[in-house]
């Protein structure tokens, strides 16, 4: 019996989908059997980030409505035999699925997979409720911005009201140089407000843009700093004790990376 984890944030654009893709690929690389569910019905992205868009035949709504079997809708990843994606429908909206149906679906999938990762849509309406319904645990993604932290706080409140396991926090897109200058919220400020367990800190990394556009998760790239952070997070998810990555040596690294990628530094 596996575990279902929802990745959510409240605010849009903070990296829920990127985080889902990277944790999925990272856990699959570690040999786990993983299913990713895109719960963002009507604005699906996870398939694109995973580079699997052209393989979609049936989707989550088809499964829930009984039009397709789960095994036919699950798309096997290009890179890993043990990584599967259940894509969202693009031509429908959040009301096509109910929390009860999601709970049943996720419960069914947990029997076959070690981890079921659910990519939640932004917002706190039905899409969020659907995504959260079947999950045992939650990961809240927040960026070091006041608005993102505010929304994360709201989400944590909603999750606590559901009496789920206390959510974990991933701080995304932190820039050590800006934190140093006092231009960006630092990790301690955020943890002080949100008061949940920190699962990891992902540095801002230009390579994420490249990897998202190419459909290749950054976690598989040994040179990506964000990829390293995601690798650490996957190890922590499996119960390992991994020290937090040092963030203050990034300027040299980024320049090296830029040169490597052919960008002007």
């Amino acid at each position: 019996m596996g575990e279902a984890i929802v990745i959510t944030s409240g605010k849009g654009g903070v990296g829920k989908t990127t985080t889902t893709a990277n944790l999925g690929a990272g856990l699959a690389k570690a040999g786990m059997k993983i299913a990713l569910i895109d719960a963002d019905i009507g604005l699906r992205n996870l398939d694109v980030v995973m580079g699997l868009e052209n393989r979609i035949v049936y989707d989550l709504v088809d499964v829930v409505e009984g039009f397709a079997k789960l095994k036919h809708a699950l798309i096997k990843d290009k890179r890993f035999e043990n990584l599967y994606l259940l894509p969202a429908a693009q031509t429908r909206d959040k009301t096509a699925v109910s929390p009860e149906q999601m709970r049943e679906l996720v419960g069914q999938m947990k029997e076959d997979f070690d981890y079921v990762l659910i990519d939640s849509p932004a917002g706190i309406e039905q899409g969020f409720k659907n995504a959260v319904a079947g999950a045992d645990k939650a990961i809240v993604v927040a960026t070091p911005e006041v608005s993102s932290v505010r929304d994360a706080d709201r989400i944590i409140g909603l999750l606590e009201a559901q009496e789920k396991h206390k959510p974990f926090l991933i701080i995304n897109r932190i820039r050590a140089s800006m934190v140093k200058k006092g231009d960006m919220m630092d990790i301690d400020d955020m943890i002080e407000i949100l008061a949940i367990e920190l699962l990891g800190v992902v540095p801002d990394d230009e390579f994420i843009v490249v990897s998202t556009n190419r459909g290749e998760p950054a976690v598989l790239n040994p040179q990506s700093k964000a990829g390293e952070a995601y690798r650490n997070i996957t190890r922590r998810l499996q119960g390992e004790n991994v020290p937090m990555m040092k963030l203050d040596d990034d300027s040299g690294f980024f320049n090296r990376l830029r040169k490597l990628m052919g960008f002007k530094s």
Binding site: G42, L43, R44, G51, E53, N54, R55, I56, V57, Y58, F67, A68, K69, H72, I75, K76, K78, Q90, T91
Partner: protein, 195 residues
């Protein structure tokens, strides 16, 4: 004749192992966008074209036999075609039991499901399913054919994973030939030769 085979994907079929689409299941009667032409009305009542003998003159050149307005009405009923004058964007979809013609583009994430043929007078980058009720003779044509996925009846082909840098800048069409989905260049001599 230049033929670009591997844009279609036999390997995809194995990976996806799709169940055959139930005949007609994709287009339930209550989901079709347009009603079938209501039968009792005469052509004169329905048409904004000149009615009566005049309509026959329009088409009656050397190559066509003169036909009455009623004949054309029957023709339209046998081959209903939906004309859409807009670009279909992500999440928008058209389901029609007849043919579909798009005057515009079909973007990634948009879907057309048609019982008959699909013609896109622009870029086809989304998903097109022709012959959705099982008609393997159906075809998909576009000025620029670069779809995420093409389906004809129960055949499925998907775009290659690596960006195909050399998308030919010519109109192309997809059809089922010898049990395989094929993409081929649109030859101007093909008009009238399509099955």
């Amino acid at each position: 004749m230049a033929r670009r085979l591997p844009k279609t994907v036999s390997q995809g079929d194995q990976e996806m192992s799709p169940a055959p689409l139930d005949s007609g299941a994709l287009i339930p009667e209550d989901q079709i966008m347009a009603e079938s032409p209501s039968s009792p009305k005469s052509a004169a009542e329905r048409s904004i074209l000149p009615s009566g003998p005049d309509i026959a003159k329009v088409f009656a050149g050397d190559r066509f036999e003169p036909r009455s307005a009623r004949d054309w009405d029957d023709e339209a009923r046998r081959h209903p075609t939906l004309l859409i004058r807009k670009t279909l964007r992500s999440g928008q979809h058209v389901r029609f039991y007849g043919n579909v013609v798009i005057l515009g583009d079909v973007n990634p994430g948009a879907e057309i499901v048609a019982g008959g043929d699909i013609i896109v007078m622009g870029w086809l980058r989304g998903l097109a399913h022709a012959g959705a009720e099982g008609n393997t003779q159906a075809m998909v044509a576009a000025f620029r054919l670069n779809p995420t996925q093409i389906r004809i009846a129960h055949f499925i082909g998907r775009a290659p994973d690596k960006e195909d840098a050399t998308l030919p800048a010519v109109p192309e069409f997809a059809e089922v030939r010898d049990g395989q989905l094929i993409i081929d260049q649109w030859q101007h001599s093909m008009l009238g030769n399509i099955k």
